[in-house]
Symmetry: C2
Subunit: 433 residues, 2 copies
């Protein structure tokens, strides 16, 4: 039990939504946090791009730094909190310099940890400093702690999750309103839910960052974002959501990671998930993670994925952990025990597929399509075709039996070369969680 009542001094770099939230929590819940940690947590300095912006918080009592890198050399600062963002630049320099100076480093920066997690963990270990990033993945869910500590008795081999709230919101809205992708995209932009670079959300990159972090925590592998397969939601149409529903599924953008003799599998892509799976009912901006352990079985965690409150809650939980003296390795095992595991190729995925085709309605089209599938031994379980569109084209939806990914993709390449194909065939993996 820590009897150390010494003040714990922190500096915060970045005062956007999350940074302001961290200040609010530390001020509003100050007495409670002092009781929970046995230490008074004091913000001594802050830094941001704009000093005078109204953030709904009073920062006049804190030192101001024009350059956040100054925090790394301040003798009185025990924890540097980085809420700037970006995989490189100031955030990365601040991480390296702070840890090398023996300061603990708390961040919500998923890109930074996905790209440099292992190297930073090594720097932290070498200088006996703590590196913590609970807020980088699924803000409102204490998933890093749950995997690294709560489920630490288990050998974990598989996890999956809805890791991006914005795209989950968009898919939920498409189903709820019956509006198509482009219309919902515009509405989501207006709401300010998209990252400054929308590609991070729409192409699955943000979810990929989070998945790479979760893999490292769960499997003890070196962070390997470069080998995450990513495919976003840009090609999902309302018609896919409607057909999926008819087939007993919902469409979710999932991150899936597993480790086996085949290697480390890390992939982010839209999936059809059965209605009966809890993850099928995680809607709007919520995130969820499913973790399976050899002893604990299946566990399921759900909470808000982003936003001021949930993300700041996770940042402060990390600060509280450090105040309590919980300063273990960043990925919960020493760096020299972290494994280099070769990536498993997605082309070896074996499972069922939903395939949506948009073709001209004329004799022989279906024969050509089914022949291409037959040639790659892709056998069909269900085929739906429901009348024509106004322009005389037709949507054909098929569900395959379990097949090899490369066979499906080769067959679709052949199908896409047919002159009757209006829009490139879309295959969505079905995950029977």
């Amino acid at each position: 039990m820590s009897k150390n009542k010494k003040t714990l001094k922190i500096a915060i770099a970045g005062l956007g939504t999350v940074g302001a939230g961290v200040v609010k929590i530390l001020e509003n819940n100050k007495d409670m946090i002092t009781s929970r940690t046995g230490r008074v947590i004091e913000i001594v300095a802050v830094s941001a791009s704009n000093r005078s912006r109204d953030r709904g918080i009073d920062i006049s009592g804190y030192d101001w730094a024009d350059n956040a890198l100054d925090f790394a050399s301040r003798d009185d600062v025990e924890i540097v909190v980085e809420l700037i963002g970006g995989s490189d630049g100031v955030a990365a320099s601040l991480a390296k310099q702070s840890l090398a100076a023996g300061k603990s480093f708390v961040t919500a920066n998923k890109a930074l940890i996905a790209h440099h997690g292992f190297a930073l963990a090594q720097t932290a270990q070498d200088h006996n400093a703590a590196l913590k990033f609970e807020a980088a993945v699924a803000g409102g869910i204490p998933i890093i702690k749950s995997i690294g500590e709560g489920l630490a008795a288990n050998n974990l081999t598989r996890l999956c999750g809805i890791l991006n709230g914005t795209t989950n919101y968009m898919l939920t809205q498409m189903e709820a309103t019956g509006k198509d992708y482009s219309e919902i995209l515009e509405e989501t932009k207006l709401l300010g839910y998209l990252e400054a670079d929308p590609s991070l959300d729409l192409d699955g990159i943000d979810a990929g960052h989070k998945l790479a972090i979760l893999s490292s925590v769960a499997f003890g592998v070196k962070t390997d974002f470069a080998n995450v397969y990513m495919e976003g939601i840009r090609r999902i149409k309302l018609v896919d959501i409607e057909y999926a529903k008819e087939l007993g599924y919902r469409i979710k953008l999932l991150g899936i990671a597993s480790i086996s003799d085949a290697g480390l599998e890390q992939r982010v892509h839209p999936c059809l998930v059965p209605n009966a799976a809890p993850i099928a009912h995680v809607d709007d901006g919520f995130n969820a993670v499913v973790v399976e352990g050899d002893f604990v079985g299946r566990t399921f965690f759900e909470g808000r994925g982003a936003g001021e409150g949930p993300t700041a809650s996770a940042v402060v939980a990390d600060i509280i952990d450090i105040a309590r003296g919980h300063n273990g390795p960043a990925f919960f095992i020493p760096c020299h025990d972290m494994k280099d595991v070769p990536a498993a190729s997605i082309s070896n995925r074996y499972g069922p597929y939903y395939i949506r085709l948009h073709v001209e309605e004329k004799p022989g089209v279906i024969a050509d399509i089914t022949a291409a599938l037959r040639d790659k031994n892709v056998s069909l379980h269900i085929m739906l075709q429901k009348g024509s569109e106004q322009d005389g084209s037709v949507y054909v939806v098929m569900v395959t039996h379990e097949v090899r990914e490369k066979d499906v993709m080769t067959a679709l390449d052949q199908i896409n070369a047919l002159s009757s194909v209006i829009d490139k065939a879309l295959a969505i993996r079905i995950e029977n969680l």
Copy 2:
């Protein structure tokens, strides 16, 4: 970072299902756990009521103690793991003596912590020892850690959960098979899912124990099992499950705790929960907990509630925590900060109710019933009556608007006194989570 590679020696009291599971995890995942903790965890001694029983584990390498209390005075033992059960007797003596001797104490015993949690936490604090009980609540969900650490930045004021897997299994089976309570009860007994004293499951006592523990962890109040209101599932009929379904609800046995100016509310009883709530879809032996924080918003956790693997996983997580040097206060704040909060009476609950009546079908019955409700200002939202049973009786189901519990109960007392009432009226609280 702990560089302490010294062996951590533990003794296990109780080798039932969970005890055997703990031995299996520590043996099967030994190398992984050593990497995760930096220490070799060694079982040095075990104790159980029967030495020779086949448990699927080899205990010949451990010292045997006929009396588990011997562990409290063994100099080489750092952690005593108690898996005997029971709120008093050997378990309680072992807890007191171990902690008083400065040993850490890990237990899965919910009755012990519900009854003596605060006193044991005080003993632990006085002797600088750790007291941990993750396995006591919702085995497969790291909920104690999630609340006490993961959500520690938040002021928590409300939580609820499905905390008893056996009754959740029974309710799920009634709906799935269309069999009535008594038949499912017999099947559940045969499966061995019921506690040795079935009242612990069926009357909500087991869930009550767990709720009292969660309240202390979440709200920082002294454990107060004596004031938990408990009502089990014995009066739930198939007809209730069917009517609930028709009304858009499912019936779940929930534990609900909240803290407000009205005091500490702790209640376990069947509830109608809306189909749209995630907790409505937690089936069979699974447990779930919903926690709301001032910054994090709503979080939802689901996992297996009991059984060898999930419970042992939680016990070993506590051992790993101690091996990592995480030895903070049992309820995450020092004992002198734990509050004595008066109990809020359930008679002040304000909300909607489902009421099921079984009455003789004759003129004036409904008039008498509705008059009794009117006299207590209980206004009705829905009333369903669907033809008669073969014996000429009739089920009448009503849903009230939001009303005060004591008014509903007083009205039902009057209704129950009517000669036309065949079976005492059943009121089930509707919780629009």
